[in-house]
Every structure is written in structure tokens, then in C-alpha cells.
């Protein structure tokens, strides 16, 4: 009761003693609605709520990193096993990204979910660069988009150039049958002279290499093999089976597309999980840093409020005595 009386007296004198520091501290820490005028003790409530939310974010991002790591392990095995699939085609037909054709179709592979770093933006930038590279008189470039993220980015300025867009590729675990049906769909509905598959090849958990694989239509293959160059010795190969060479080349081109697309989709999915892992890891680290800084602020605020209270009491007491 005596203490309460002293405190009441202290309150009357405190503003005369040191008005400036208190208001300065108050304005920096307390917003208007939270601290109505007249409340003296500085609230640590706000800092505490911020700390709680940052800690929750840190827990969530850590969990997401663990999930991405486990998914990465599973799909990395599949991607590495499928790497032998495209090598025979490149050994036979060579790799001619600089081939000059009229109708280009760029197949952009991206993820459906976000929070995976910059891999989707890289793929979209490269697709747009291919569009620019192949622009000119009677040359056209169309897009086939796999995945929601690239569709969202490409639809903003190239809406009329998107021929086909596919999403929810990873609802069921990726397998060759699904990809070959997709490849069949694309081949039936899109006319092309050259297909460019743009994806991120998985090099390591922290490095993803943007890659483009080129697949030529059978007519272009015939044209290039006749004119010589890297496909020049295609004519020296005997053909077994089928009636004509063009029929075999047609089957070969379609088979090549489905194999290369399968490998590309797996590599991109692996890169997505790896990128998500590193993005979530840096996010949890940032949250940890933020939490450290907030803890320091919290302690400072707490000590300042204790000091203020003590000062008020002591000055009140000394005012009564003397």
C-alpha cells in the first residue's frame, strides 16, 4: 500500500524528470493503437509476437528442407539411371543446336510448385532468348509449356505463342509411359521443324545447368544428311525393317523425342528438389539471424522497462524524503 502510494507519486513526477528518452523509446517500439497515452511500462508484447512468428517460419522452412532432401534422394536415382537413354541418339544423329529451320517449337519444362529458387526463371529466360534467336523473316517460334510456373511467366507477354500447356506432371511418380503419352500428344498437335527442350540438368545439389536438347523432324534430318555436316554420314547406315527410309526416320525422331523428354523431365524434377532444399536452407538461416537480432532487441526493451520502473519508484521515493 505504501509502495502503491509511492508509485502514484512517482508517476506524477516522472515526466518532469526525463520526458525525452521515454517518448523516444515509446515511438520506436510501440505503434499508436497498441499503447494508449498514459501507459508507462514499455510493452515487450510486440517483439514477443514477432519472435514467435519468426520461430514458426524457421520450423516450417526446416521441415520443407527435410522433405525436399528425401524427395531428392528418390528422384536423383531415377534421373541418373535414365542418363544413358539419350546418348545413343546423340551418337547417331549428332547435336546441331545451330540448325536453321523455319518452325521452331520450344518445350519449356518447369515446376508446378514454387519456393524453389531461380530455376524456373532461368528456363523462361532461355526460352525467350530462343524465341529472339529464331526471329526473322518467315521463321516462327511457338511454346509448349510443361508446369505452372513457366506458364504464369510466359503467358504475360507471349500468350498467343503458347500452343499447348500441361500441368500436374508430378501427381503420380514420373514414368516413361506417362511421358511417352505426353510426347505423342505434342507430336500430334504441334507442327515443327525443330524441337528445343529447355530444362535444368542436375549437376549437383547446389548446381543446376540450363540445357537445351534439339530434336529435328524427319524432313530436316534428311535435308541435313544430304547437305553433309554432322549428319553427313547418316546415309552410310543401312536400314533394317520398315519399307522406306523416311518411315524409319519418322519412328526414330518420335522415339528420340520421347526418350530425351523423359530424361529432361526427370532431370528438371531433381533440380527442382535440389533448388528447393537450398532455398529453404538459406531461408531457415535467415530466420535464425532475425531471431538473434530480435532476442537482443527484446532483452534491451525488457531491461529498459525495468530501469524505467525503478527510476520512477526511486525518484518518487527521494522526492517524498527530501
Amino acid at each position: 500500500m505504501a509502495m502503491a502510494a509511492l508509485r502514484r507519486e512517482g508517476r506524477r513526477f516522472a515526466p518532469l524528470i526525463s520526458p525525452q528518452p521515454i517518448t523516444a523509446v515509446r515511438s520506436s517500439l510501440i505503434s499508436e493503437e497498441q499503447a494508449p497515452l498514459g501507459v508507462r511500462s514499455i510493452s515487450t508484447q510486440i517483439v514477443r509476437t514477432r519472435m514467435k512468428s519468426v520461430k514458426n517460419i524457421q520450423k516450417i522452412t526446416k521441415a520443407m528442407k527435410m522433405v525436399a532432401a528425401s524427395k531428392l534422394r528418390a528422384i536423383q536415382v531415377k534421373a541418373e539411371n535414365s542418363r544413358g537413354l539419350w546418348q545413343p541418339f546423340t551418337a547417331l544423329l549428332g547435336d546441331t543446336p545451330s540448325v536453321d529451320v523455319k518452325k521452331n517449337v520450344v518445350v519449356t519444362i518447369s515446376s508446378d510448385k514454387g519456393l524453389c529458387g531461380g530455376i524456373n526463371s532461368t528456363s523462361v529466360k532461355i526460352s525467350k532468348a530462343w524465341h529472339k534467336l529464331n526471329s526473322g523473316l518467315d521463321k516462327e517460334t511457338k511454346y509448349v509449356v510443361l508446369g505452372e510456373k513457366a506458364k504464369a511467366q510466359l503467358i504475360r507477354d507471349s500468350r498467343k505463342d503458347i500452343e499447348l500447356s500441361v500441368s500436374d506432371l508430378q501427381k503420380n511418380p514420373l514414368n516413361y509411359t506417362q511421358v511417352s503419352v505426353l510426347a505423342d500428344d505434342i507430336l500430334k498437335n504441334v507442327e515443327f521443324d525443330a524441337l528445343r527442350i529447355v530444362f535444368n540438368k542436375f549437376h549437383s545439389v547446389v548446381q543446376f545447368l540450363p540445357t537445351t536438347a534439339t530434336i529435328l523432324s524427319p524432313e530436316v534430318v534428311e535435308r541435313e544428311s544430304e547437305s553433309g555436316g554432322s549428319l553427313g554420314d547418316l546415309d552410310s547406315y543401312e536400314i533394317e525393317g520398315g519399307e522406306t527410309k523416311s518411315e524409319i526416320l519418322q519412328n526414330l525422331s518420335e522415339f528420340q523425342f520421347s526418350c530425351v523428354l523423359f530424361n529432361a523431365v526427370l532431370e528438371n524434377a531433381t533440380s527442382e528438389q535440389g533448388a528447393r532444399m537450398s532455398a529453404m536452407d538459406s531461408s531457415s538461416r535467415n530466420a535464425g539471424d532475425m531471431l538473434d537480432r530480435l532476442t537482443l532487441t527484446y532483452n534491451r526493451t525488457r531491461q529498459a522497462s525495468i530501469t524505467t520502473e525503478l527510476t520512477e519508484i526511486i525518484s518518487g521515493a527521494s522526492a517524498l524524503e527530501g
Binding site: Q87, L133, L252
Partner: protein, 203 residues
């Protein structure tokens, strides 16, 4: 002072011995790892972005056509979910092409063969491993490298004969009762596959 002299004398001897054991990296054959004209064209149009990598930079090295016929055939047998055999040296392979069984020996002429469902047998010395493969493609290159790409492959001993018989009966019945062209085609494929399986098990 003398210690350093002995060190200096020892080093040239060691390095020459090392050079004989392992070639310098500049002596190895250089594989082209990027299409130069593509990189040039890219840099002109989009100078701020690095050009994307192409499959050429990830290719494993393949030797050029030798002047004399090599003794062994190098086989790469790949499936979408595994590389069954990769650069394995064998004596002969027999592949089920659409025109019939094709035996491939080292020095075989360069061929592109379309495959039908059947038995692939790999002969290495005295052991023969047989796989039943679904269709695919086979490329035989002039440097005695054979690439066989199939969608599915099982070793013959893993196939259950009773299921084969059941499947054959089922698809023959479907073929006779098929009405649309699509159903007929599907039933036809089933019948061909199961009869090939049957032949593989018995023949």
C-alpha cells in the same frame, strides 16, 4: 644447401618417370564439347545470358572408326529406368529386328534397325544372357559400338509361362470379338506380343 641440391636433382628424374606412366592432359584426344557456331550466334543476340549447355557437352567419348576390325563388340543396352549394359565388350549379340533375327559381330556394317518384341541374346565367351525386350531401336556404328534402346526388358527366366498362355488366349479372344479399328489394333498388338513371349519360352 646440399639437401636442396639433392632435392633439385631428384625432382627431374621423378617427373620424367611420372610422365611416362601417365600422359599429360594435352596429349589426350580432344572431344568437342560445344557447338561453336551456336555459341557465337547466341552471344550476338543475347549477350547478357550464358548459352545453355547442349547434350554434346555431356556425351561420353566414343572412339573413331578403326582401320582394322576390332576383336570385340562394345554394347550399350539402355532402358528408360536403367542402363542394363554400358560399354560391355562382347563377342556377338542377336537382336530381334522387324525383318528377323539379326546377328551382330564386330565389324558389322553401320545399321539402324527397328526392333520388334523378341529375344535379345548377348554372347560373351561361353555365357549367353537372354532378355525378352519390348520394341525399340538398335544402332550399330562403324566403330563396332552397338546401342540397343528398348522400353522394357526382362531376363527370360523371370517370365511365367502360365501367365503367357492366359494372356495369349485372352487377346486372341479379344481380337475375334473386336468391333472398332482401335480395339482390333490393340488386340493385335497383344496377340503378337504374347506369341513372341511364347516363342521365346519354347524356342
Amino acid at each position: 644447401m646440399f639437401r636442396r641440391a639433392t632435392g633439385l636433382l631428384a625432382r627431374p628424374l621423378l617427373s620424367s618417370a611420372r610422365a611416362r606412366a601417365r600422359p599429360f592432359s594435352t596429349d589426350l584426344p580432344v572431344a568437342p564439347n560445344a557447338d561453336e557456331s551456336f555459341v557465337e550466334a547466341w552471344k550476338k543476340v543475347v549477350p547478357n545470358l550464358d548459352p545453355p549447355k547442349t547434350p554434346l557437352s555431356f556425351m561420353k567419348h566414343r572412339p573413331p572408326t578403326p582401320s582394322s576390325i576390332p576383336t570385340k563388340l562394345t554394347v550399350n543396352f539402355v532402358l528408360p529406368y536403367a542402363s542394363e549394359l554400358s560399354t560391355k565388350e562382347v563377342d556377338m549379340v542377336i537382336i530381334p529386328a522387324t525383318t528377323g533375327q539379326l546377328g551382330v559381330l564386330p565389324g558389322h556394317v553401320a545399321t539402324i534397325a527397328e526392333l520388334k518384341p523378341g529375344v535379345l541374346s548377348v554372347h560373351e565367351g561361353n555365357d549367353v544372357s537372354k532378355y525378352f525386350i519390348s520394341s525399340g531401336f538398335a544402332f550399330i556404328h562403324a566403330n563396332s559400338y552397338a546401342d540397343i534402346i528398348a522400353i522394357e526388358a526382362v531376363p527370360i527366366d523371370r517370365i511365367d509361362p502360365s501367365l503367357v498362355q492366359k494372356g495369349l488366349a485372352e487377346f486372341t479372344q479379344k481380337l475375334s470379338s473386336a468391333s472398332t479399328d482401335l480395339e482390333k489394333a490393340e488386340a493385335q498388338i497383344g496377340v503378337e506380343l504374347h506369341s513372341a513371349l511364347n516363342f521365346a519360352l519354347t524356342g
